[in-house]
Structures are given as C-alpha cells and as structure tokens.
Amino acid sequence: METRSFKVSYSPHVHNGASVHKIMWNVFLALVPATAVSVYAFGINAVRVLFVSTFFAIFFEALALLMRKRDWKQCFDGSAALSGLLLGLTLPPGISTPIIMIGSFVAIIVAKQVFGGIGSNPFNPALTGRVFLLIAFTEPMTTWPLPRGIEQAKNYLGLATTKTADAITAATPLAAIKEHASKAMPNVSLNDLFFGLHTPGSIGEISVLALLIGAAWLLYKKIITWHIPVSTILTVFVIATITHFLSPAKYPHPFFHMFAGGLIIGAFFMATDYVTAPIWPMGKLIFGIGVGLLTIVIRLWGGYPEGISFAILIMNATTPLIDKWTVPGPFGSKTLRRQS
C-alpha cells in the first residue's frame, strides 16, 4: 500500500493573519494626524526632530540586534520606529539633534534591548527616553518655541516671551500655571488648546483634536481598549474638578487639565502600550486610575509642571503586580462560588 509523507505542525493549522507588524503600523497611522498638525505648526523643525528620533531608534535597534546576533531586519517590525516617533512627539520642537540621539539611545538600548527587545521591556521606551532627557537636560527640554505664524505671540498668556537665536519661546500652559499658581490665573482659551495651533508644547501634544482622531482609529481597529484612556482621563478630570471648585483661583479648570499638556497623547498612545500595561480589564482600570492620580498630583503639587510621563513610568513598574493580582476567575468559577 502506497503511503505518503507529510509536513507535521502543531494545531491549530489556521490563523487570523494578525501580526505585530500590522498592529505597529496601525498605531503609526493613528499618529499621522498629530504629526501632520505638528509639522504644520512647527515647520521643518518638527520634521527634523521626528526624523532624527525615528531614524536613530531604528538604527540603535538594528545595532542591538546585530550585537545580540539576531536577524537585524527585525528592526523594521515597526516597534522601534514607533518608539522613536513617540519619543520625537514628546520632545520640544527646538531640541538639538545630539540630545534627540541620546534620547533614542536610552529608549531603544537602555529601556528595551537590555531586557531582551520587543515584548520584554518593563518600561515604556519612549517615555524612558523622554524622562531621561528631561532630568539630564532640563533646560533645553523646557524651552518651548511658539508655533509659527502667531502674530500675537508677545501677548500670549500675558507672559513675557523670550527671543532666542531662532525662535520666540514661552512657557507651556501647564508651566505657566505652575509659575503663576500663587498669582492670577493666566487666561488660556480652551479652543486654542483643543486645536493646538496657538500653544507651545511638545511636538505631538499640542492638538487634542488630531490625537483624538488617531485614538478613534485605534479603538475602531480594536488595537486598544477603552479601559486605560478613559480611567486615566476621568481620574484627572474628577480631581481637577474637585480642586477647581474648592479653590478656583489656585487650581485651573478641569477642561484645561484635560486639554493641556500630554494627557491625551499619554493616555491613548503611551499608557496603552501593550508591553508595559496590565493585561486584564480590571488591571487596566487600576492602572489608568493610578496614572491619572499621579499625573494630577504631580501637576498640582509636584515640582514638574507635567506629570504624565513620570506617572506612566511609575505605573509601568506596578504592572507585574497588578497583573498578578487582577486575574479574573476562569470560566465557570462563578458557578463554584454560588455553590459554596
């Protein structure tokens, strides 16, 4: 009897075609509106920052893979590029190129490849890079050129602007609040914050609208779930509301906290990073509340005007514990509980 030999593999023998690659490029796609707005607002400078951060992220990834004797082509799987782009989006537009390179190095090598590359990093690479730069190069990291084409720059927030070699700079709305916490509340239009063309800030955080468009795409493609962003933003909103109504002169309006700074980009694009966020719905809610809480605490009472980067990094550290303690019961455990 004639028999035939076949290739043997493990079940299941079909797959839905999802891949890490596709997920990463979808997130990229979701960041396109924010990138476009930033390029419009900050011009060639934004392009430079984003290009350098992304390019060097991929470069360091390839370097690390080569050193680890892995297939260097894996550097194009999108994860390194995404980390690089996100890093670039969190930097001020005027930052110098060597500093961006250091940021990419920290993000890819120190925060990711040291622990084994994709999937292994305990902390969000982009944010690690950003926080490192913030603490290492405080001054350049807190110099914010104004978006171009603003005639009323001098009157912006009623604050003095400074003229440096190539741009007019001013404090971000959050920094302005911090500096003036004891004096009068600077008047910032929520409209400006929402559309983002008239406020200084990190490249990617200025336009809330553009970020929300991207976030909607991610939610639509089911790449992220609502748990983390909603719980984060809600926590910030609730605490900001309470403090605002307790002392309106001292604490700004809750919508100001929602739209100013990096809350939106952080909540939707950074805190939801698969690798560093909890995995179960319950854990995601706890994580989100933690991020929101820490963010608003640092914003209102801490030394830094913006706290979301620190908040996410600190909560990243709690992820393994949250994961450990929020595992839901398996199928049918409800029945058991009812019986006993």
Binding site: F132, I135, F137, T138, P140
Partner: protein, 208 residues
C-alpha cells in the same frame, strides 16, 4: 605562586562589586566623583586590612558561638577609628561620604572576607587577600565614579585635599551639555548596570 594569586584575584576574578556583588551601597552612593569613589575604596581597604589581619590572628581563640559578634566588634572599632581619622585629616571627603563611612561596618565585603578567608588562613595570606580585594574594590569605585563624573559633569577629579585639587576638564559644559542625570541616583544604577554587563560580556568572550 599562591601569594600572587591571593593578591590578584580581587581585581577581576573575585572583584567585590562586579562579581561577588558585595558592597553595592557605597559603590552606588558615593561615586558622584572619581575621587569620592577612590576615597571610599581606600577607607574600606584600610578597615579590611585591619580586620583581616586581626581576625586571622585571633580566629583560633574565639569560640565558635560568638564568632560573628566578635568580628563585628573588631570591625566596628576599626570603622570608628577610620571615621575619626578622616574627620580629622580629610574633612571634605568625610562630609562627602557622610553616612557611608559608619556603614562600612555592615559592608558585606568585610564580614565576608573575615568569615570566608581570614578565619581560615594565615596572617600573611589574609593581608594579601585584604589588600587585593580592597584595592580591587577601590579601583572599581574609582572607575564608576570617573564614568559618572565625566558623563554628568565633564570633569575628572583625581585628587582633592584641602586646597590641592587635581581636576581634569574633559569637555566644557558650555559647548557640550553634560548628562547631569549621571550625577543623580538613576545614573548610579545605570552606570553600574552597564559596567556589570560589560564585565559579563568580557568574561563570556574569554570563556569562549
């Protein structure tokens, strides 16, 4: 040559910080400048020398039950001596190292060497062992301090005593911005982490 072996092992093969992972607290805490690291290393070496010699001398007469307490008393006495000596002759360094001078008492290197080596070996070898391990530790601290200082401040302080200051400027803060985070706590962890990895990497290379 056993003597040579006992002396040299501390520099690489049994390096206290990098291999045995002992005395990590001072390695991280006081290495904000190369000289601070060196000072701490030498202070530790001094205590280690004293304790190793004394303990190898008296090991025979100490009853087994009170072994550890006796060692601690000896070490604590030596540490207090060094503390006072430094306060008198190198006040700058003393204040820079601060809390970590009395904490030499609980530096596992010293008790570890006493327990594992000095109590079982002759005075001569104990002395060499202490010298090797101590200097190895001091050099490691110096290197960690040097890296942190260069990256975080752009300088390299080799010697500092009262008015005398030997200080190399590696680059100017005005032209190149130093990565100040290396002087701070996170920089200590990162520097030592990468140094350890480098050591492992070289070891792996040698092994293969």
């Amino acid at each position: 040559m056993r003597a040579v072996k006992e002396f040299t092992k501390g520099f690489w093969r049994e390096n206290a910080s990098l291999v045995l992972l002992l005395g990590m607290c001072p390695t991280l805490a006081v290495t904000t400048s190369a000289f601070n690291g060196l000072g701490m290393g030498l202070a530790t070496t001094a205590v280690l020398l004293g304790s190793n010699v004394i303990i190898s001398l008296i090991a025979g007469i100490i009853p087994k039950k009170v072994r550890i307490p006796s060692y601690i008393v000896v070490i604590a006495t030596l540490v207090t001596l060094v503390d006072m000596f430094m306060a008198a002759y190198a006040p700058d360094l003393h204040s820079a190292l601060g809390l970590f001078i009395p904490l030499i008492v609980v530096n596992c290197i010293i008790l570890g060497r006493a327990e594992a080596f000095a109590s079982r070996n002759s005075v001569f070898y104990s002395f060499l062992d202490a010298l090797g391990i101590g200097l190895g530790f001091a050099i490691t601290l110096f290197v960690v301090g040097a890296i942190r200082e260069i990256l975080g401040n752009g300088t390299l302080t080799v010697f500092q005593y009262k008015e005398t200051l030997i200080n190399f400027v590696i680059y100017h803060k005005e032209t190149i911005k130093p990565i100040t985070v290396f002087i701070l706590a996170p920089g200590a962890f990162l520097t030592l982490g990468f140094l350890l990895a480098l050591k492992n990497y070289i070891d792996n290379l040698i092994k293969n």
